[in-house]
């Protein structure tokens, strides 16, 4: 190449420059599509969900606080019977109880794996946790239905369906999530903290309890919130064992329902655009907002932890 050719090549757009431009545009479009999808999900569900309250006698407060859920019927004063409190109670009930049950197990297993026997943990516990994550939720539901429900029926009486059965199923489902996040949190605690504590004469247990767990608290909390988010949003496994009665739960073994269980069994049986159908979309909106709230909670814990 002579000098002029080189100069011309240097000052015109090369094939690589064009490819780079194209690549940037293509990859940007992909990411834009995801962001648009997220917005679309919120927008579409919100529009349907809010329609319940537009031009009807249903108020947000009634929707959240009334206990009678009988779409299609109205009470004495002509207000549709759309009280979602039983489902809200059911959802929060199974979520909190399963998280309460899973937390000690998760922390115990994580401590065992990181502090007591890393070798055994790495070899056996880690694959076990990975496999538990991989089991599809309908399988959990099926086992709940064929093992947990009869077990509760035989032990405590009643039908066996209810919050307790849902709690047990969700406990196993969220356990791996909470455990693996707790493990990461414990692993992130610097080695020197443990060494400093042990050097001061603390026993291993004192070190774990007073030093390791304390400094890993934000990470463990994040794991628990993630587990709760999963429990709150789980649909089929819960729907299969909770009994699907839109009633205020009297106790842990009476048939109940959650937001997700009413949604899965209801959407197909109502006419689009009807009040009954819109009310279901309001439940879906509620689910979305809760999932957002769990996200914010995780962020908030993250920021708090980072500030310390």
């Amino acid at each position: 190449m002579n000098n002029d050719e080189i100069k011309a090549a240097l000052t015109s757009k090369s094939r690589s420059a064009k490819l780079e431009r194209r690549g940037k545009i293509i990859s940007f479009l992909c990411i834009a599509l995801i962001v648009i999808a997220v917005f679309a999900i919120f927008a579409f569900v919100a529009v349907r969900g809010i329609a319940t309250f537009v031009g009807t006698k249903v108020t947000l407060w009634n929707f959240l606080s009334k206990t009678a859920w009988a779409p299609g019927t109205t009470d004495a004063s002509g207000v549709p019977k759309l009280g979602a409190l039983p489902m809200i109670t059911g959802s929060f009930g199974v979520t909190l109880l399963s998280a309460l049950l899973a937390t000690p197990f998760a922390i115990g297993a994580a401590v065992y794996m990181t502090e007591i026997s890393p070798k055994w943990g790495e070899k056996i516990l880690q694959p076990v946790i990975d496999l538990l994550v991989g089991i599809p939720s309908v399988v959990y539901g099926f086992i709940g239905l064929s093992v947990v429900v009869p077990f509760i029926r035989n032990t405590f009486g009643g039908t066996g369906f209810g919050i307790l059965a849902g709690t047990f199923v969700l406990f196993v489902m969220i356990l791996p999530t909470v455990t693996s996040m707790t493990i990461s949190a414990l692993k992130a605690v610097p080695r020197r903290y443990r060494e400093a504590s042990l050097a001061l004469g603390a026993t291993r247990w004192q070190t774990i309890y007073k030093v390791v767990l304390r400094s890993a608290t934000p990470g463990i909390l994040t794991g628990i919130v993630f587990g709760m988010a999963r429990a709150f949003g789980e649909a089929l496994a819960v729907q299969m064992v909770i009994g699907n009665a839109a009633l205020m739960p009297k106790n842990l073994i009476s048939p109940a329902s959650t937001l997700t269980s009413v949604l899965t069994s209801g959407i197909g049986n109502t006419v689009m655009g009807s009040l009954e159908n819109n009310a279901l979309w309001t439940l879906a909106l509620l689910l979305l907002l809760m999932s957002l709230a769990f996200n914010l909670l995780v962020r908030w814990i993250g920021n708090k932890g980072a500030m310390k």
């Binding site: 000098n3 100069k7 000052t11 090369s14 690589s16 780079e20």
Partner: protein, 267 residues
């Protein structure tokens, strides 16, 4: 130790020296921080110029701005001129990709691709449209000979580049760079990650390469600079304080800071 940064000596090259590339008041900024403060240096064709100086003196940053590799760092900005064949390479009109084909670079750590030796060399030429098998074969041989690696690998061209030793990998990277037939070869401490024997091999390669290429090399190794380069530029605190023929820099530097550095008083 603090040195007066106003105290500089930049030797003018003789009028008949042919320049491959030169800079004019080149400044590099990272965000608000100015890392290189207005460096103007000439690089003579078919010569080796060493850039020496303590860590953080801006010599690597300067080198990486010559083929605009700093463009890839978020928040970086370069002002001033890079003169090459009557063009300013720092101008936005320049196609950086075409430019980098003319100004090749070898990095501190050998970074061969996870491909065979043969593919490491032919990868870029093929991307730019060279598909003739015989041409590519010849290119592989001449490039590997140029990098003094041919005899060691000629029977294993289709083995993974990762199977080579560190020194061989670095020479493969040199071969990969010269396969593009650039005018200028930038080398960023090319031997710092290598053992003495590999270092000697790479140095020998460079002395051979200067018959066809202009080489600019950043090095921390004073003996290396003294052994191989024709010119040496001493960088300190983002400035070039002294530029001269290598033998002068190492025997009779004009500036105290250079003298202290090359005699090992700091750095």
């Amino acid at each position: 130790m603090a040195y007066s940064l106003d105290d500089r000596f930049i030797r003018e090259l003789s009028a008949d020296a042919e320049l491959a590339i030169s800079t004019d008041d080149l400044r590099v900024f990272y965000g608000d921080k100015e890392a290189v403060h207005g460096v103007s240096l000439p690089f003579e064709r078919y010569k080796i110029t060493s850039l020496i100086g303590p860590s953080g003196s801006g010599k690597s940053t300067f080198l990486r701005s010559l083929n605009r590799m700093n463009d890839t760092v978020a928040g970086s900005r370069v002002t001033g001129q890079i003169n090459y064949r009557g063009l300013d390479l720092n101008s936005p009109d320049i196609d950086v990709y075409e430019m980098r084909r003319r100004i090749g670079m070898v990095f501190q750590r050998p970074n061969p691709f996870a491909k065979s030796i043969y593919d490491n060399i032919t990868f870029a030429p093929r991307r730019f449209g060279e598909h003739d098998k015989q041409t590519l074969d010849e290119l592989v041989e001449t490039s590997l000979r140029g990098a003094a690696l041919w005899d060691e690998v000629k029977d294993n061209l289709h083995k993974s580049a990762f199977a080579l030793s560190g020194g061989q990998q670095q020479r493969l990277c040199i071969a990969r760079a010269i396969a593009m037939q650039p005018d200028v070869l930038l080398m960023d401490e090319p031997a710092s990650a290598l053992d003495p024997i590999s270092t000697a091999a790479v140095e020998e390669t460079m002395l051979k390469l200067k018959e066809h290429y202009t080489i600019i090399i950043v090095t921390h190794n004073m003996q290396q600079a003294a052994r191989i380069s024709d010119y040496t530029a001493f960088f300190y605190s983002g400035q070039c304080l002294e530029f001269d023929e290598t033998r002068r820099i190492f025997t009779r530097p004009k500036i105290t800071a250079t003298d202290d550095y090359v005699s090992g008083h700091f750095g």
